[in-house]
């Protein structure tokens, strides 16, 4: 098993380290208490999911959508659309006609 803190039992379907990695991928900050709780919940759910492993799916095509749709093409024309003012109306922060965000590139000297 990879990772896993001292408290995570070897039988757990998901290790504490995996919970932390997944939270980072999902961009959700979790406290240590939340990590432990999440590990317990996900372990119970993944244990239940195990029953799928027993099904013979050899030769079965995966189903991605319930109906077969053909992707229709349309003319590339300008239709009704939101103006910049409306599109930006819900933005938590804006500058002129742009969405404003914190600095993206962080150097060793910190954001700045």
């Amino acid at each position: 098993m990879r990772g896993g803190g001292a408290l995570s039992c070897a039988a757990m379907k998901i290790t504490e380290q995996e919970v932390r990695e997944t939270a980072a991928l999902a961009r959700i900050a979790l406290s240590d208490a939340e990590v432990a709780h999440m590990q317990r919940d996900l372990d119970a759910i993944l244990t239940y999911m195990e029953k799928l492993a027993a099904i013979d799916v050899s030769g079965v095509e995966p189903m991605t959508h319930a109906v077969t749709t053909t992707m229709p093409l349309r003319e590339d024309e300008v239709g009704p659309h939101l103006g910049a003012k409306e599109a930006l109306a819900g933005a938590p922060r804006r500058e002129e006609d742009f969405f404003a965000v914190p600095r993206i590139i962080v150097t060793d000297k910190g954001a700045g």
Binding site: I14, E18, V19, T22, A23, A24, L25, A26, R27, I28, A29, L30, M38, D41, L42, A44, I45, L46, Y48, M49, K51, L52, A53, I55, V57, V60, E61, P62, M63, T64, H65, A66, V67, T69, M71, P72, R74, L82, E86, A87, A89, G90, A91, P92, R93, F99, V101, P102, R103, I104, V106, G110, A111
Partner: protein, 489 residues
């Protein structure tokens, strides 16, 4: 006046067009009932009194000018707060969208407005439609109209409670794994989940895109048929919307409805362990009633349905983890500033999402991770094919399938909240319909000894909505469960 709160949508539209009543009177009656009762029920997250009265006045003006006022003229409608509404706060039941005022209307909402409907407000729900009890609403609990200590079902709990309690004539909900049918069953109204693609999802906050579908809740099959006629059909803004003509569903529900010779499939797997005996009894009695009305009962088998929950919670959470990536605090919604952009994302999502939404995003992200994809997501998609093939086979032997909608009647608030897996198991009978993309309907079929409603679920082949509505209408024509009113003064 109160009486108008118990008239059906079709009846109200007819009366408004015939000038027997004004849209304003009907709207005022509903607003008054909401003001009197909803403080205890919690069905509405937002009541748009001013907007509703303005829409009603506009309908009355059209009638006065002799213009056709539309098939839903003056019908008071509530919308699950997952429907994007121009100028009206749309929260999806989440703190992350608590203050979002959308700049546009979704297609179903625009079609309702065009048909003369009066939108009363936005209805309570589980956050991002994730839940089976409405307990995951970030704002307040919604209660069951028959017993305020119990859940109304979910995720469209506010929609079902409002319709059942006479706080709107019609509501829209969404159904990804049972979120229209299960609350309809637990609260006591009719709920229809149409075929995947039958109704446009443009302007509906996405949960799991291969499963989500919009549908109506009403007190009768006729009212649901009327609503479906208005909202169904091709929409260039939703590439998955089906490009086929919309039938006059109302014709399928008009008395006398003949269901003679229709074959009703009964799958033994849906009457096994875990089914509350009283629910089973009521549902079997309802099937016997359909038989008495001329339908023929045949046994069918859906052997892979026992794997539906595991399959669903992998497919749905994987899709949700991707769909909900858009809530990043940049373009709309909550932002919690962090030391850099990534930290801002993480803090925003930690503060904005509730526990169940985080759990599902985590599960979906995990199932899609390199190294786990084949074992979880891909395998689930293959089992989904097997579940679909079960139904394909069954529908060569029958025209519709009858089952319980929920294995249990409404449970107590808090009873299952601590155990996410126990909550997932509440969806056992509704989920396979979404995986297969089929239409499904729940119709009230009696009460338990504790006076809690029980729902009969009817499932049909793709585009079989008219058959389901016809069966439900025939059943309602022979029973009066839907005429009982919950004890809310």
């Amino acid at each position: 006046m109160e009486d108008w709160c118990w008239r059906g949508a079709a009846d109200i539209a007819r009366a408004v067009a015939a000038r027997e009543v004004s849209a304003l009177e009907v709207t005022r009656a509903h607003l008054a009932r909401i003001a009197a009762i909803d403080g205890r029920l919690g069905a509405y997250l937002l009541v748009d009194e001013e907007g509703a009265l303005a829409q009603a006045a506009a309908v009355d003006e059209r009638v006065a000018r002799g213009e056709p006022p539309g098939p839903l003229a003056g019908v008071p409608v509530g919308l699950k707060d997952l429907f994007v509404t121009r100028g009206l706060t749309t929260t999806a039941g989440s703190r992350i969208l608590a203050d979002w005022v959308p700049p546009y209307d979704g297609t179903a909402v625009a079609r309702l407005r065009q048909a003369g409907a009066v939108i009363l407000g936005k209805l309570n729900m589980d956050e991002f439609a994730m839940g089976s009890s409405n307990e995951n609403s970030a704002f307040k609990p919604c209660r069951n109209p028959w017993d305020l200590a119990r859940v109304p079902g979910g995720s469209s709990g506010g929609s079902a409670a409002a319709v059942t309690a006479g706080l709107c004539a019609l509501a829209l909900g969404t159904d990804t794994g049972g979120s229209i049918r299960q609350p309809a069953a637990l609260s006591g109204c009719v709920g229809l989940k149409p075929t995947y693609g039958r109704v446009s999802r443009y302007g509906v906050v996405a949960f799991a895109s291969s499963l989500d579908q919009v549908g109506p809740l009403g007190r009768t099959a006729l009212d649901c048929a009327l609503a479906l006629e208005v909202i169904a059909g091709r929409d260039p803004l939703d590439a998955t919307s089906i490009d086929l003509p919309v039938p006059r569903y109302r014709d399928a529900t008009r008395a006398p409805v003949s269901i003679a010779g229709l074959r009703i499939g009964v799958p033994e797997e849906f009457f096994a362990t875990g089914l509350d005996p009283e629910v089973g009894e009521r549902v079997r009695a309802a099937i016997a009633q359909l038989e008495a009305l001329g339908a023929r009962v045949v046994n069918v088998s859906l052997p892979y349905s026992e794997h539906a929950i595991a399959t669903y919670y992998l497919v749905a959470t994987a899709e949700a983890s991707s769909n909900l990536a858009r809530y990043d605090g940049v373009r709309y919604g909550l932002r919690v500033p962090g030391r850099d952009l990534i930290d801002t994302y993480c803090k925003t999502r930690a503060a904005g999402f509730g526990d169940e939404v985080k759990r599902r995003i985590m599960l979906g992200t995990y199932a899609l991770r390199a190294g786990y994809y084949d074992a979880y997501y891909l395998r689930a998609q293959k089992v989904r094919t097997l579940i679909k093939q079960d139904f394909d086979r069954a529908f060569t032997q029958c025209d519709a399938i009858a089952t319980p909608t929920s294995p249990v009647p409404a449970f107590r608030i808090g009873e299952r909240a601590a155990d996410p897996l126990a909550m997932y198991l509440a969806d056992i009978y509704t989920i396979s319909c979404n995986l297969a993309g089929l239409p499904g309907l729940s119709v009230p079929c009696g009460f338990t000894r504790e006076d809690l409603p029980v729902g009969l679920q009817l499932l049909g082949p793709p585009l079989g909505e008219a058959t389901l509505l016809g069966l439900a209408a025939a059943y309602q024509g022979a029973t009066d469960w839907h005429e009982r009113r919950p004890p809310l003064a």
